[in-house]
Symmetry: C2
Subunit: 214 residues, 2 copies
Amino acid sequence: MMKLHGYYRSSTSYRLRIALELKGLDYEYVPVNLLTSEQKGQAFTSRNPFGSVPLLEADGRDRAQSMAQLEWLDEAYPENPLLPADVEDRYTARELAYAIATELHAPLNLPVLKYLANEYGKSQDEIGVWYRHWLARTLEPLEARLAQLGTGDFLFDKPGFFEVCLLPQVYNAQRFAFDFSAMPHITRIEQACLALPAFQRAHPDNQIDNPERK
Amino acid sequence: MMKLHGYYRSSTSYRLRIALELKGLDYEYVPVNLLTSEQKGQAFTSRNPFGSVPLLEADGRDRAQSMAQLEWLDEAYPENPLLPADVEDRYTARELAYAIATELHAPLNLPVLKYLANEYGKSQDEIGVWYRHWLARTLEPLEARLAQLGTGDFLFDKPGFFEVCLLPQVYNAQRFAFDFSAMPHITRIEQACLALPAFQRAHPDNQIDNPERK
């Protein structure tokens, strides 16, 4: 069985949980405690030199980058594809998913936020301003793109590659009090996804390493 | 013919120039002046709401995200593939390429550097410290991964998806005086690529919008 080494509220770990649920692949979830920097210890970095989660242990190999893991899952396990079949639709799904993965992930990720606090002495309020600035810069055009495409409950007929990347970003944005009131498309897609059991099982609230888990 | 709207030293534009050259696809290069914020003007954002380069105008559509463009090029134009054929090799190429695209692109991109200067009052020297910090954090494990893989002149038998992302990152790192002396694998791959006409034609030095072009 695959093992997903992750952290409950890491957005990239959350991506993989959704993807594995949508594809109907069994996996064991192995928590890695980012608060104690477990991912920087020798036991972990010997398997993943990048020292990051998620680490996907699958088919005899330790896999280290979430977007490469998603692309690989769809190629190695073609059933229940995350990407649509049509080449142009695949482009559309990737354009929106990679906007999140390449523009938003790194500036909002824990290492950069820690750098702002420790090296620049920024307060939590100032870090919140940073966080929402970059969110707006990518989510506003993403909302505009969804409007151009005339999107319904999902980007296509069912959730896939794009929604796998969107939901974790929205979850993290809510933790930083980002205002989604002018983003009806993103909000509608988020709500439609959260109504589905696959997204509920993958949600940070329901992970064994969430200390506030009910 | 395809049109690539880009800027000579934008690393994502440089990725696309290399990819189009390696695939042997004819294209017209249309400069977009980032220094005058041409990409934020209405004429450009009406075509690309993200207000970013490169914009690839191809097969009747404006395409906005470089990694989605690369994946699309390989699917729509299968000749001279950037990704290898084997599923495991494809994973390897993507793991290394997406490490650059998702971890390095955004924190080192012009908008973040401008934010550090304008909002935080950071000097050019301080921005250099920031730049090299994030570079080291991803290039060191990337070098370790290349050592694990026993890489030769290229990741596989010829340059492709990974080299398309690596070369622009190395070029930009050199502008910020990053020290590559402890990275023999990255350096060897860079040198092997720069010896090839496709990489020479794609290089920032040889673009019509480079004011220092000879």
